[in-house]
Symmetry: C2
Subunit: 247 residues, 2 copies
Amino acid sequence: MPRLHNFLSLALVLLIAGCGAAQSEEPASVAETSQEAALAPAGILKAGFVGLETVYNSELMAPYDILQHSVFRDSINYVETFVVSPDGQPFTTFEGITITPHYSFDDAPEIDILVIPSTGGSMSTDLENEVFMTWLKQAVDRAQYVITVCDGAFPLAATGALDGRQATTFPADRDRLAEMFPDVEVLYDANFAVDGKFITSVGGALSYEPALYLVERLYGVEHARRTAQGLVLDWDVSQIPHFIASQ
Amino acid sequence: MPRLHNFLSLALVLLIAGCGAAQSEEPASVAETSQEAALAPAGILKAGFVGLETVYNSELMAPYDILQHSVFRDSINYVETFVVSPDGQPFTTFEGITITPHYSFDDAPEIDILVIPSTGGSMSTDLENEVFMTWLKQAVDRAQYVITVCDGAFPLAATGALDGRQATTFPADRDRLAEMFPDVEVLYDANFAVDGKFITSVGGALSYEPALYLVERLYGVEHARRTAQGLVLDWDVSQIPHFIASQ
């Protein structure tokens, strides 16, 4: 049985049963600000961040911070974060910072939340990188959620996963996304778009947003607000232009 | 003769003479949005970012991005960025990302712009780290500008450099900064404060701001706005609560 189906069934049972820590953290306002209660998954979700040469600092770090900080809100039910590179060797970001990944494509654990930041090659060389694209397609298929930041939408689109779906990317590259992938419905007015398990976003200094949205979906608005506050942000998704496809 | 004095004298001569590329980039609006014209330093400024164990991702990366991206606005007059750690060996950020520095304290080049991000130990163990504090004091003395992000204000305050100056830090830690360093005038309502060569700031997702302010001071408001735009930000310092001490 697909893992996502199991996961959602378990979450539904837990919610109905009024299970412990996660449930007690949901404030009365969740129903007002969000159409649905938090999923409140139990245990540790594994978030793998793709690290390729020339990945952009902000697009890698911002969602990483949001998801990693979840452990400080709840030390039992949280997101564990790690960086995955093709060969497990250090790589250098676009801005020139050298990062040592936690895993390679070959030894990475099962990834529940896949995060694809943009790189200098997202719209070109990465798409022709067969090792990357082969790994990416199976990682996308297996993940429960996929977040793209900035031009990270391009490799995701190249897997076919966004065909018939609404998505967005770095503002100056939206036309190009639409041209290269005509089956993707590109949104021009959203900071982030949610369609099925895919959360695509504009990137840059706004790279915190898609991760905060996912944190709110998983753990509730209060958890998301406190995480944002730790980064001197006021989180209120109703104040951010975004799109959520009806499920 | 102190390097800063030379630097400013040269900048003044260049401005008066209407020198080339930097001057031509200054739009008419600089005089309206900023009390002074851009300094327009010629050549490459060296920005050293302090990398200690448990440094926070966002506080290191955000100002790094802003300053590093300057080379894309002007390939001759820009800021060169690098990370400096005590021993030149890889260190791990608070969120668990391993970074290899460019230099050690011993072999780092002369630092024009010193950037001190917060770490998990900024308010405690870093202040008792004699190797760090000894190096920091001389780096602060020699730098033309010092930017602190989040609790990076604490080690700067510990050098005595902020005595009699106005400064700010991560909002929840402002009281502690005031208690630990009573000669520092702590500001509670500013995202960043500029007093002399010191730019202190709140950190988190707002860590782009002190660097954008410095870019505007150095290269003009148009350069700063374009740099911000590349990170999906609208830069307008008049919309940000900040404080600039009269010089």
